[in-house]
Symmetry: C2
Subunit: 201 residues, 2 copies
């Protein structure tokens, strides 16, 4: 019983480690990644069309106008958004798609795809989050403080998510996403046709 793939939305504060979890999940081949479009500058090592589609503000606003985005949000003065078509094609083919999306964006996705699975990745403690953000050393203190304030706001919205994963061990966190994916595919609502068919034959 295969059926449609899952749309799995992963959110979490900057520094929660969600990006690393996504990279691990992609190694096992059962997941595809929804690539976001953004107007923020590429960090060292980030590749256009792999990590993000890097866009100018004018290009991004054109995508908004043409409704080519599932959701978009402005965060730290940059646009982030999710191109639609690739997601629909991926799940129709039976593959699961991972969407790594900031929380406001995730709430927009929830309205459009209520069947999607929403996972919130958490640091084990707020202090741990602080030190992870500082450890990255790619942002100014002002940006770090903005992100901490935002993380606090985001944590208060945890109820909007289906599942919480506390990321205190990378492999455990990855295994949890895999367990959630497997479990979601066992939901009885997905078995209607299969059982009706069995009863007829």
């Amino acid at each position: 019983m295969k059926g449609e793939g899952l749309k799995i939305v992963l959110s979490g504060p900057s520094g929660s480690g969600k990006g690393t979890i996504v990279q691990e999940l992609l190694k096992d081949g059962n997941y595809k990644l929804s690539i976001s479009a953004t107007t923020r500058k590429a960090r060292t090592g980030e590749v256009d069309g792999v990590h993000y589609f890097f866009k100018t503000q004018a290009e991004f606003e054109d995508m908004i106008d043409h409704e080519q985005l599932l959701e978009y949000a402005c965060f730290c003065n940059n646009y982030y958004g999710t191109p639609k078509a690739f997601i629909d094609e991926t799940v129709s083919s039976g593959a699961d798609i991972l969407l790594e999306i900031e929380i406001q964006g995730a709430l927009q996705v929830k309205r459009k795809y209520p069947e999607a699975i929403f996972i919130f990745i958490m640091p084990p403690t707020f202090d741990e989050l602080k030190s992870r953000l500082k450890g990255r050393n790619t942002e100014s203190d002002e940006v770090i403080n903005q992100r901490l304030a935002r993380a606090r706001e985001e944590l208060m919205l945890f109820k909007e998510y289906d599942y919480i994963i506390i990321n205190d061990n990378l492999q455990d966190a990855v295994d949890k996403v895999i367990a959630i994916s497997l479990t979601e595919k066992l939901k009885s609502s997905r078995y209607k046709a299969f059982i009706e068919d069995m009863l007829q034959n």
Copy 2:
């Protein structure tokens, strides 16, 4: 984050293999088994207080009168029921309890424990179910036919269950129950206290 253990109800037609799945799950030590009371005769190898509490009809009806049963049902002229106290103690201690219950019983449990997790174990095909029932060779043709008719009725009630596991491979089926248990513990509703605590400290 430990919290209360899960109540996991496993149902499925006779011959679906649910009993074998339960025995495998008990090997890993994270699960406890709810032991049913029954008035049916012990099969060869079955031990009172391990596989069932074997009761006379009078003893069983006394347990009903004293409300010591979570649910009970009459099936093929025998009573089957679930003693309450052990379940509540087990989940309070943080352990997960497995309840292997016929479908009418499961529906009674659902009313009393709406938070319980309901898993329906299915044979891969109806023919496979038939041959499994015959293969066991412990029952008369009449009993086998009663069970097949009942299996058909039970399959039609699959929507009452949260999850469906098609048991075409024992280890896969066991892994699916384990994935469901892990996933259920990640539900955001279980994290309220944890997150409020994190935000305060």
